[in-house]
């Protein structure tokens, strides 16, 4: 029974609800339910929509293996449109209804596959094709399909209440906006649109902002200027502006100032396409519907998918949150600290502590195409890089020190027979000296240069693990004194353009752990060598059960699980917290669910812990973790422009204790912090002391 629920019923039900949410690019269940209820304002239309949605999702469940995809509603939203349209135009002939619904499902499955290949979303093309098919069949004549083109408010349960004349007091721009919004789900009344607008605002401030912005800009430019002469009210095609604004403003693209500019710039283009398609499709006696939105949005998303310049807005990429807010906040957080899902652990190419003598965009040779590179030397406590008089190569501390692989990879190019220079001399012919180039992934190579002649331990074709010794530091090539040159580059050819790539983590100066960063000139840096005890403490194997009790929330039980993408998370009945542990640090990735539990405080307290005794680290919590409220509402509204709320997180790892704190910071002014002391005993987390203002309470780990 449980199997049937998990494999079929749950994805099916979720898919049905999310088919509705997907209409406005949402993955929120309640929003889907609200949309469904709004369609039912006109019960006939709404029920056809629902029936179509159920049939399509059932069909998808039966036809396709990927139930996770079915449950996202991606195969259902075109069917919802088709069902609604069928209910509106010809609510009769059940067998035709089935035929149309199955047709739209097949078209959706095909286009979904193609869109993955082409990296262009398919929007509502399946629905358009289906509807045009229906219209063409009707034009063919016969009594197969009888059209009922009148919009009849009498179909509604509420009768006069929905009559637009009751809403005459609403200013025209808003009335038009609501009406357009309603028309997306075939509600040709202001009230339905208003309900939808409120729901949209509750679901996402950003999406609401973009939709109204795009629409009102179009309205301002064109609605007053004799649109009536085109024969239909502005609102009949106005929803194209709304959908395009949400799609390419804040769903497929990260909300930002750039995306706002582009959203506005697309309005006139949208206008031309609307007019042109109205005319074009009129040749076939077909309505253009949402074709303009699909065409313009697909075009723009495709263009952004090319290698883009810094001026173009960023695509939202792999992870899309449940709302544009979440996508934006999660993106902002990930940009600052998490290795992407490839999970590559990249360290420094040496052992012990070395100092950056020339950094990225350095003053000597790290320029132009070769600007993302580092030179490293070893210094003593006085800042000198040699002992004695420094008149011999062997006086230099770094000379003949092991150079190691920055990450696991394949040896793809080496040079091992360039003579080491005498001090002060350089070799202009063999600039790079002796080197090793490793291939870590397609397009990602690392190179270490100026190695000692004859010191290489590997040959081309060897596989090396992270930390394996490659050679010894030398003084070959363009090197007047012994030092190590290190860079990431785009091809196996030594000297190809360098890449702006970041290290997974390293320790800078006195114990400051830098996650996902680049060493700077003058920094003295070393690899983070994980403390065995902390490593054991923060290793949570899948299936592990953790029982705990807290003063505030009582007993809790967490289990460690894995999702379909290999992500690991803690799970309670009401919440989930995803985490990542790369052998050098523990980092939470995101939190979902109820925040009134100890897991939420575990998330906040142990958000980012380096496995280094006496290590310190600072990070920012994502705003997705902030509780809802007025402040959050305004922050969401202005988030494409600027972020005024930050939640700085700081951690200091001590002997048998991890001290951390986080607080809300408004316009860079700190507010009351929450402090956590996570106690560690015998390689396990034993307790967390929480201090919130004057209040203190405790989480106690059992077992």
């Amino acid at each position: 029974m449980k199997h049937v629920w998990q494999s079929y019923l749950s994805p099916l039900l979720k898919g049905i609800v999310l088919s509705y949410s997907s209409i406005l690019f949402s993955q929120s269940l309640w929003f889907g339910v609200v949309l469904m209820l709004v369609t039912l304002l006109c019960p006939i239309i709404g029920l056809y929509g629902l029936a179509s949605c159920v049939i399509a999702n059932l069909g998808a469940c039966a036809l396709l293996k990927d139930k996770a995809k079915v449950s996202s509603g991606i195969f259902g939203f075109n069917a919802v449109f088709t069902g609604l349209a069928f209910g509106l135009f010809c609510p009769s002939r059940i067998e035709i209804f089935f035929a149309v619904t199955i047709l739209v499902l097949l078209l959706t499955i095909w286009m979904e596959g193609e869109s993955e290949r082409l990296h262009v979303p398919f929007f509502v093309f399946p629905f358009l094709v289906c509807l045009w098919t229906l219209f063409l069949v009707q034009q063919q004549g016969g009594d197969l399909i009888a059209f009922n083109i009148e919009f009849e408010a009498s179909q509604s349960l509420f009768g006069d209440f929905l009559d637009d004349e009751n809403w005459a007091f609403v200013p025209d721009v808003f009335a038009s906006f609501f009406k357009s919004l309603g028309l997306i789900i075939f509600q040709s009344n202001i009230f339905g649109g208003l309900l939808l607008a409120v729901a949209l605002l509750c679901f996402s401030r950003i999406a609401f902002l973009y939709s109204f912005m795009g629409f009102s800009f179009g309205y301002l430019l064109y609605a007053t200027d004799g649109w009536e002469s085109y024969g239909v009210p502005f609102s009949y095609y106005g929803f194209n502006f709304i959908l395009t604004s949400i799609a390419v403003g804040c769903y497929y693209v990260l909300p930002s100032k750039k995306s706002i500019a582009w959203t506005l710039a697309l309005v006139p283009i949208q206008f031309f396409v609307v007019l042109a398609s109205m005319r074009f499709f009129s040749f076939f006696f077909l309505p253009a519907f949402s074709f303009p939105f699909c065409a313009v949005s697909a075009l723009f998303v495709y263009v952004l998918g090319r290698e883009k310049s810094k001026l173009a807005p960023d695509l939202a990429g792999y992870y899309k949150g449940a709302s544009p807010e979440e996508t934006l906040y999660v993106y902002e957080r990930n940009r600052r600290g998490v290795p992407l899902s490839c999970g590559m652990n990249v360290g420094l190419p040496f052992m012990g502590r070395w100092t950056v003598s020339q950094g990225v965009e350095g003053e000597h040779t790290h320029k132009g195409l070769w600007r993302y590179a580092w030179d490293f030397i070893v210094q003593d406590e006085r800042g000198t890089q040699y002992k004695g008089s420094g008149s011999m190569l062997t006086d230099y501390y770094c000379f003949r020190k092991p150079v190691v692989a920055t990450a696991s990879g394949l040896v793809v190019a080496i040079m091992d027979d360039v003579e080491d220079n005498r001090l002060g001399e350089v070799d202009n012919v063999h600039n790079w000296g002796n080197y090793v180039v490793l291939k870590h992934a397609e397009g990602l190579y690392s190179a270490v240069c100026h190695l000692e002649k004859g010191s290489l331990t590997s040959k081309v074709g060897d596989w090396v693990e992270k930390g394996d010794i490659l050679a010894l530091c030398g003084n070959s090539g363009y090197s007047p004194f012994p030092h190590l040159h290190f860079q990431f580059q785009t091809s196996p050819i030594m000297g190809s353009p360098t890449l702006d790539f970041r290290l997974s983590s390293f320790v800078s100066n006195e114990g400051e752990v830098v996650p996902y960063g680049r060493p700077k000139l003058g920094d003295s840096v070393s690899n983070l060598l994980p403390d065995e005890e902390l490593l054991a403490c923060y290793t949570f194997p899948i299936g592990k059960e953790i029982r705990l009790t807290s003063d505030r929330y009582g007993q809790e039980r967490w289990t460690v699980s894995m999702d379909a993408f290999g992500g690991t998370f803690f799970e309670t009945a009401k919440a989930k917290a995803w985490f990542l542990q790369d052998g050098t640090r523990f980092r939470f990735l995101r939190y979902e669910g109820d925040k009134q539990c100890a897991l939420y405080h575990f998330y906040l307290s142990n958000y980012h812990v380096p496995f280094l005794k006496d290590g310190v680290l600072s990070d920012l919590l994502s705003l997705t973790e902030m509780k809802r409220g007025v402040l959050k509402f305004f922050q969401d509204l202005v988030s494409p422009f600027f972020v005024f709320i930050r939640i700085p997180y700081e951690v200091r790892v001590k002997e048998s204790m991890v001290q951390s704190s986080c607080h809300l910071s408004l316009f860079s002014k700190g507010r009351d912090a929450v402090r956590y002391d996570t106690m560690i005993k015998r390689q396990q987390i034993s307790a967390i002391d929480v201090k919130e203002g004057n209040k203190t309470w405790k989480i106690l780990f059992l077992s």
């Binding site: 052992m351 070893v378 003593d380 501390y397 770094c398 693990e465 930390g467 002997e655």
Partner: protein
């Protein structure tokens, strides 16, 4: 500077100050004789040792050998630099704990651990280095009583090619005792086997011996992993690095024959890399270096009490620091420098301490300028063992001070007074 046929000329210039603080002032303020430690030198010693090893081997941990010098002020500098504590008695264990060292950063060596010591160590999660089977059985009892799983390492002795093989401590490698003990511990299942330890000797001037020891230890660790399925956290190579002192039998001076930290590190690291560990599974390397880190950071300042001629006409100079303070003068020819400008006339001298005992001789032969009563001398390389092995005998023990990095001087250990001695007397 090249040595001549009688070694290096050890005293070219007088030593007028220690880290910029004049010797005269120090003796005026703190009395004579006087032990002086240089904070700067301690820091630079440990940093250069750490640099030498950690740039060659990924996981290195130093543990400060308490018996070498357990003055709190000295220990704390090492702990500040990240060193753990290596202790050999309940007394030293307590001292380390009071210095704020966490139990999990203490290594407990020594052949004389009492049951109480073991109980305490087990409770605090100290690494216990097992020296003999009686100790192993005692510890197993303690583990039962305390319901704990003690963290242990096995102490191993081995043939590192030295003329005198130390086999007094631990279990022998070559004859299989060590392997038997390791198997026994794994079989017992009560103890948490964390590492293996060896200490090949003291003042080892050959880096080769360390290479041999390191390779044997690494092979043993790998064998433990492969055959007993226990991944050892560390191999501990003990201490024994030579300082810049000159051994009595040595032909050349200490600075010329003592290997540098880089030499030791190169030998040790390359030896371990010969053993086919995966890089990510290399055991941590622990070093319990004491002498080489502290010897040259300690000075003994002394004052000339009198001069006389022996029956054969040799010049005898008596100073106020004797073997009661300078235990190490039994095996080293300590370098001696005058602490004031001197004449060009040198003479072979025998340097005596102040005790009314025939054995109280600091240097049998030393070529020194002619010194007068009241002149000061600086005795070098006295940082290791002297302030732990000193005696209250005939005279009282003097002040021990430290010259800080900012030039301030502070007392590490106050001079003894008569009442200190009498306080313990009961009748």
């Amino acid at each position: 500077m090249l040595p001549g046929k009688v070694g290096t000329d050890a005293y070219l210039s007088p030593v007028l100050d220690i880290d910029g603080v004049s010797v005269d002032r120090l003796m005026r303020d703190f009395g004579s004789p006087l032990f002086v430690f240089s904070e700067q030198k301690i820091h630079s010693n440990i940093q250069s040792a750490k640099r030498a090893f950690s740039t060659r081997y990924p996981k290195v941990q130093f543990a400060w050998s308490y018996k070498t010098n357990y003055l709190d002020g000295v220990c704390k500098i090492f702990h500040e630099e990240g060193s753990w504590a290596e202790v050999v008695s309940g007394f030293e264990l307590e001292k380390a704990l009071q210095n704020g060292v966490d139990g999990s950063h203490i290594l407990f060596n020594g052949p004389s651990k009492t049951k109480e010591d073991l109980q305490k160590a087990v409770r605090l999660g100290v690494y216990i280095h097992i020296d003999n089977l009686d100790e192993l059985y005692l510890l197993s009892e303690v583990a039962d009583e305390e319901s704990e799983r003690p963290k242990v390492a096995v102490r191993v002795n081995l043939d590192a090619g030295l003329s005198q093989q130390w086999d007094r401590f631990g279990f022998n490698y070559e004859n299989g005792q060590a392997w038997d003990t390791l198997s026994k511990i794994v079989e017992m299942g009560k103890l948490d086997l964390k590492g293996i330890h060896c200490h090949i000797g003291t003042f080892i001037l050959s880096t080769k011996a360390y290479a041999v020891a390191a390779e044997k230890m690494a092979r043993l660790a790998l064998e433990v992993f492969q055959k007993l399925r226990v991944r050892l956290e560390y191999i501990d190579l003990g201490g024994g690095f030579a300082s810049h002192n000159t051994l009595k039998a040595s032909y050349l001076g200490g600075p010329d024959v003592a290997p540098s930290f880089d030499d030791y590190a190169e030998a040790v690291a390359s030896a371990i890399y010969k053993v086919p560990f995966k890089t990510s599974e290399l055991p941590m390397l622990i070093l319990e270096t004491g002498r080489a880190l502290i010897d040259d950071a300690g000075y003994l300042l002394s004052t000339v009490l009198s001069n006389k001629r022996s029956a054969t006409g040799r010049r005898y100079t008596v100073i106020d620091a004797g073997v009661n303070l300078l235990f190490t003068s039994f095996w080293y020819d300590h370098k001696i420098s005058p602490a004031q400008p001197y004449s060009k006339y040198f003479e072979d001298v025998t340097l005596f301490g102040p005790l009314c005992m025939n054995i109280d001789m600091i240097r049998e032969f030393v070529c020194l300028p002619l010194l007068n009563r009241g002149d000061h001398l600086v005795i070098h390389n006295v940082g290791a063992y002297n302030v732990t092995q000193w005696m209250q005998f005939i005279t009282l023990r003097p002040n021990v001070i430290m010259v800080k990095r900012d030039g301030d001087c502070s007392i590490l250990h106050e001079a003894e007074t008569l009442s200190d001695i009498k306080r313990k007397e009961c009748l």
